[in-house]
Symmetry: C2
């Protein structure tokens, strides 16, 4: 017996392909949309459909951009001496939200992952090395994720950039703010101990 109409089934299937959306959440979302005003579904459908229109990779840093260069690269007030190397455009948004960074970015487009067949040539590493040699850059922050793959990608990039003599840094490791010693994993606690600061 077909309990769920086919248009709903199709939507549940598509929603279920999104990350973090399991079959039950997909079902709940689809039924919610079906219950709400059809205009809202049309608006959301159009927003998803039009998502890629007018969005390109910035020709300099490979972040998402609406013009040829992204707003950060095109800005006159950002410090051109510092580049933060991140995995994904989403990481740029996260760092911007801190309001504490005034430099530029470089978006790799992923991490080196032999398991998934992603080698250094699939990432924007060559373009970073080239960019590092433009004479302006003084510091490159390797802001890849503190994961195994993020770490090894950072290591690889360090190898590529060391000959340039530019200062290379990593984001600090330690206890998350608001965290609890008791619940911190050993490695994080170890890093927090090693990186302890004078009070």
């Amino acid at each position: 017996m077909k309990i769920v109409p086919s248009s709903v089934e199709r939507l549940i299937e598509e929603l279920g392909k999104l990350p973090g959306i399991g079959p039950r959440t997909a079902e709940r979302l689809a039924f919610h949309m079906l219950k709400s005003d059809p205009v809202r579904a049309t608006t959301l459908g159009a927003a998803i459909d039009g998502l890629h229109a007018g969005v390109h990779a910035c020709r300099t840093c490979f972040n998402f951009a609406e013009a040829e260069e992204c707003e950060v690269c095109g800005s006159l007030t950002r410090h051109r001496t510092t580049i933060a190397v991140v995995e994904e455009p989403f990481d740029v948004v996260a760092i911007e939200k801190t309001g504490l960074y005034q430099g530029l970015y470089h978006v790799l487009g992923g991490v080196i992952s032999p398991m998934d067949g992603v080698g250094p040539d699939r990432l924007e590493i060559a373009s970073l090395v080239q960019r590092a040699q433009n004479g302006e850059v003084e510091e490159i922050i390797l802001a890849t994720n503190p994961s195994l793959e993020g770490e090894s990608t950072a290591m690889y990039i360090r190898g590529q950039l060391e000959p340039t003599g530019i200062k290379l840094t990593r984001l600090a490791r330690g206890l998350p703010v608001g965290g609890d010693l008791e619940y911190a994993d050993q490695i994080t606690l170890g890093r927090a101990l090693q990186g302890r600061q004078s009070f």
Copy 2:
């Protein structure tokens, strides 16, 4: 500085209106869609846009239907003597998944909620009372949620149906399967005790 392209901003806003999707999840989903193949976004967009097309309320039970009647009401194998009264079409799906129910449904379209201005006349209660008097119905299961509003809606419907003399039942209350006595709330445990069964 505009870090997020406007098409992405628009999508984040629309996704954030869905239940259970906070601003961070909306952001993550939008960036995921932007990273994936544009064809997938178009497919999802079209699925959402076409969701309401061809879906109506069943004229008998008010569940979602693609024809005039839903598949359950139109079926020749379902037991026409029993009606399960549920709040939403989603509840029909949940009960169908158990594979243990062979009767018909009646979808109220919500619960009585004076706070939200929903009175009995806004729900499919009059149509239920009328349906109950068709001479076929022997049992009506009031399968509203075990919440305050679900309970009071069931109480109200009981008042309306009592004159018909039809057998009225409620879903059993007790400990959830796989649950743990220690973590059960007092009220659930109390109901489980009251409704204890011989072993």
